[in-house]
């Protein structure tokens, strides 16, 4: 029993983390839960106030508002800087696997499609998210409203989980079915521009996965469990001994999956010099492992 818990320690703590953040928002709104007279966490993932004074803002949403040609209050910018700083330390896409509520849905879709061995129908490029990210900023500029925030199934789901469920589940159901029947990790791994935004952050973030090449037997277990297998391209990580790709979500699946325990969380080391040739390989691998 304790063995099972230990083997799933990251999966379990990720769920606890996701649910408790959701619960904090929910209880602060529904029950006005207060500590020392201040509400613990007011708002939702787009913007919130921690302990009644610390502003937190989704930096991607803030960027969109800035691109729409509107200035923001100092508090909002501070909130965005705090969140940016947080993910610069804990890994850009740590948001995706430790906070985002959609992750719970897509994780289960991935599990189901693996169990029923459903083949992929589409082959979306993993870099589509960057194009959508760019497009959202251009459209924010052209239309004068935060483009992705108006259609984001993430904010919609999270907002409605707190302020009352309405039609937000439709977008989420579409994501679930898409991930299950059309393509593996279609939303989180290919399309989501918020994931793309945090991917860019992840390229310089501090907490990374370290790879011990001496122990590796090249069994490929990590590849099969990883939601973004291109980050574990063996040719690359054998040279670099660390997962430098921003697409890595710091979910810790590879750490618990690897029978030789090759992976572990560690702080970023300076990257080897031969980046030019490596970049080509990374691009190659991104295209290959759709």
């Amino acid at each position: 029993m304790s063995n099972i818990i230990y083997r799933n320690r990251f999966a379990i703590s990720r769920r606890i983390c996701q649910l408790s953040i959701l619960l904090l928002f929910y209880t602060s709104f529904i029950y006005d839960w207060k500590i020392g007279g201040v509400e613990v966490l007011e708002g939702n993932l787009s913007a919130s106030t921690l302990f009644g004074m610390i502003p937190l803002t989704d930096p991607y949403a803030a960027f969109q508002i800035l691109f729409s040609g509107h200035s923001l209050l100092f508090d909002t910018l501070m909130g965005a800087v705090i969140i940016l700083g947080f993910y610069l330390v804990f890994g850009g896409r740590a948001f995706c696997s430790w906070v985002c509520p959609v992750n719970m849905i897509t994780d289960n879709a991935q599990k189901l499609r693996a169990r029923f061995k459903i083949p992929s129908l589409l082959k979306i490029n993993r870099r589509a998210r960057y194009w959508i990210l760019g497009l959202s900023l251009v459209l924010s500029f052209l239309s004068g409203v935060a483009a992705f925030e108006w259609i984001s199934p993430i904010s919609m789901l999270h907002r409605e989980l707190i302020y009352g469920m309405q039609m937000g589940w439709v977008g989420v159901a579409v994501i679930f079915l898409f991930d299950l029947f059309i393509q593996k990790q279609a939303w989180c791994g290919h399309l989501c521009p918020l994931g793309g935004f945090y991917s860019i952050l992840g390229r310089v973030s501090l907490l990374r996965i370290n790879f011990n090449k001496e122990k590796c037997t090249k069994c490929g277990d990590c590849h099969r469990i990883c939601p973004e297998p291109q980050v574990l391209n063996l040719a690359v990580i054998f040279k670099e001994e660390m997962v430098y790709s921003g697409n890595c979500t710091n979910c810790g699946r590879c750490i618990t999956q690897c029978p030789e325990e090759c992976f572990q969380f560690s702080l970023r080391k300076s990257r080897p010099d031969n980046q030019e040739s490596l970049l080509k390989e990374i691009n190659f691998s991104e295209n290959e492992s759709n």
């Binding site: 602060s28 709104f29 509400e39 007011e42 708002g43 939702n44 787009s46 913007a47 919130s48 106030t49 502003p55 803002t57 989704d58 949403a61 803030a62 508002i65 729409s68 040609g69 509107h70 200035s71 923001l72 209050l73 508090d75 909002t76 909130g79 194009w131 959508i132 497009l135 251009v138 459209l139 052209l142 239309s143 004068g144 409203v145 935060a146 483009a147 925030e149 108006w150 259609i151 904010s155 919609m156 907002r159 707190i162 302020y163 009352g164 309405q166 039609m167």
Partner: protein
């Protein structure tokens, strides 16, 4: 040998240029189709909704751009007046607003909703008596019982800016010849659009309603000069004598209005004297 090598390199270059154009075209097509659909949705979403916003809301275009849909104003409202719009409601999904007939704005002096707004979509510095959430309009005189000669005054009494935002106009009732009509008249100079009048209207469907300002108000052309209000001399270009002069007087008028406004909820016993 060397020229052969050069030729190969050239072919590779041409190939990659070809690839580049094809890729550019493919991605460009996706971006164009997706961008068109997306912006179509956005322009649809941006069309002005029939909705009353929280006090201090910026002009609708700016409000829609800066509102991050976090719901902190909803959380802050002690009367549960505000709610985030759901699919199929009149407001854009996720944006805050209220329905005056259900729960009106109770005009908290400290305006907690506006203070809670992280992005400035609601002006944090708003003075609640200066806010303009909408404008009360006595929309249906045919059903309002005051216009039938019955005594009502409920909207007049409920108004937080009693005798300022709504006054009663007395008129002789011709049918009986000895009674009076007590007709409520709304004054845009004071009405904040809080909606208490709409909330309390005794009819099955309220005769007095809060409308968004752009629906409720007309605008007099600048060429009109109401001589009994504007005491400045007529100039050749039909503009006021000096712009700076009118600006200061506008400010003075605003300050005077502010001083005259007395919220009946916060009255300390001098209002009815």
């Amino acid at each position: 040998m060397r020229s052969q090598g050069d030729k190969n390199i050239k072919m590779v270059a041409e190939g990659s240029r070809r690839d580049f154009f094809i890729k550019f075209g493919q991605i460009g097509t996706f971006a164009l189709v997706g961008g068109t659909l997306w912006s179509g949705f956005l322009s649809n979403a941006k069309s002005h909704a029939f909705v009353l916003r929280a006090p201090g809301a910026l002009p609708e275009d700016d409000f829609l751009a800066t509102c991050i849909k976090c719901g902190q104003c909803v959380d802050a409202c002690p009367f549960q007046t505000l709610s985030l719009a759901k699919v199929g409601e009149r407001a854009q999904i996720g944006t805050p607003g209220f329905s005056a007939r259900e729960i009106p704005c109770y005009m908290c002096e400290d305006v907690p909703c506006a203070r809670a707004c992280p992005t400035g979509a609601l002006d944090r510095g708003i003075d609640i008596n200066q806010s303009r959430m909408g404008l009360a309009v006595l929309l249906d005189q045919e059903s309002c019982i005051a216009f039938q000669g019955l005594r009502c005054e409920v909207c007049y009494r409920a108004c937080p800016l009693l005798d300022k935002a709504i006054t009663l106009d007395y008129r002789t009732q011709k049918r009986t010849g000895k009674h009076a009509y007590f007709e409520p008249i709304v004054h845009s100079e004071f009405c904040t659009g809080c909606g208490k009048c709409e909330h309390v209207c005794i009819l099955e469907e309220s005769a007095i309603r809060i409308l968004p300002l752009e629906l409720a108000q007309g605008k007099l052309g600048e060429n009109y000069r109401l001589g009994w209000k504007d005491k400045s001399r007529i100039t050749r270009d039909f503009k006021s004598e000096s712009d700076s002069g009118t600006q200061t007087s506008n400010k003075e008028i605003q300050q005077e209005q502010r001083n005259r406004v007395m919220d009946s909820l916060n009255d300390e016993g001098t209002l009815y004297e």
